[in-house]
């Protein structure tokens, strides 16, 4: 269900989820998939891209005798998220006014 997209919107969503707290790959994928219609294989490339771009960092936490790799926003990631949020507000405003006019 939902909008089928990748790229910037997927990055935006991942950053937004991580703003509320660090998360590991599986749980992050599940959260993304409740909102965006992406396949289970599209999160890994996105996470790698964000990590390579310096927006995310990773660390390992032991869990039941193995490691979970957690993703965390870097200061750069926070900055990128702020600009995404500003763009999103602008987009939403324009979209709302467009739809409002259509209804009138």
């Amino acid at each position: 269900m939902g909008f089928q997209v990748g790229g910037a919107l997927l990055d935006f969503l991942v950053l937004s989820i991580l703003r509320r707290g660090d998360a590991y790959g599986y749980i992050l994928t599940q959260e993304v998939r409740t909102i965006l219609d992406v396949s289970e294989t599209s999160l890994y490339p996105a996470l790698r891209r964000l990590e390579k771009g310096g927006l995310l960092s990773t660390y390992d936490m032991p869990y039941q005798g193995r490691n979970r790799r957690y993703y965390r926003l870097t200061p750069q990631g926070h900055e990128a998220l702020e600009s995404y949020i500003a763009e999103w507000r602008q987009f939403k405003k324009q979209m709302d006014s467009l739809l409002g006019e259509d209804e009138a």
Binding site: G25, I27, T41, Y44, R49, N67, R68, R69
Partner: protein, 194 residues
């Protein structure tokens, strides 16, 4: 069949990725499978697709990234990973034939251009050597004016050779990266279509 079988097949498919990228990809998907509670080959295949399909996605993604790396890395890397991505796709025979023909034509073109450049550089090298030898002769016969004149000529020819070679190297780097990026995009588009 067990999940280990899936991951060993995936690892085998990813043989041409840089070792670190391969390890990270395997690690991520192993962890994902454990969290999701997948223990059989079938469960993994339902989630990620067959190992070969997952490998093509990972190759395509890696090739796009390699082609986007500016200045750093080897220019041939994008090309090699792009080709690996393309050939890891389940393609029909006619498409493979077309790709092979195109690659053959490109190879012949590169060889032809390389040969003509080689001949040019060789001829200029000959001119440089004969000018240098002649200037040396004038130096021995105490004719400083003629010596300088021919030495200057030799230096100009040498400069032209150096300029040609550096231009060729510069162009080759970009062309290789460009071809690699193109192939990677094709591969990526095809993996998304499926």
């Amino acid at each position: 069949m067990t999940s280990e079988r899936y991951f060993s097949e995936l690892a085998a498919q990813l043989g041409r990725l840089p070792a670190q990228e391969r390890e990270e990809a395997l690690r991520f998907h192993r962890e994902y499978a454990q969290e999701a509670g997948f223990t059989t080959y079938q469960e993994l295949e339902e989630c990620f697709g067959p190992p070969k399909a997952l490998a093509s996605r990972l190759y395509a993604e890696s090739a796009v990234k390699a082609s986007e790396e500016k200045g750093t890395g080897k220019p041939g890397k994008a090309l090699i990973i792009g080709l690996a991505a393309l050939f890891s796709l389940p393609v029909t025979f006619p498409l493979v034939l077309v790709i092979l023909i195109v690659l053959f034509v490109v190879l012949v073109l590169i060889l032809a251009v390389g040969f003509s450049i080689g001949v040019t550089v060789f001829a200029l090298g000959g001119a440089f050597l004969s000018l240098a030898a002649e200037s040396w002769g004038y130096l021995l016969s105490f004719a400083p004016g003629l010596w300088l004149k021919f030495l200057g000529g030799a230096m100009i020819v040498l400069a032209v050779i150096i300029i040609i070679i550096s231009l060729i190297l510069f162009a080759a780097r970009h062309i290789l990266r460009w071809i690699g990026a193109g192939i990677a995009r094709i591969a990526e588009r095809r993996t998304k279509d499926e």
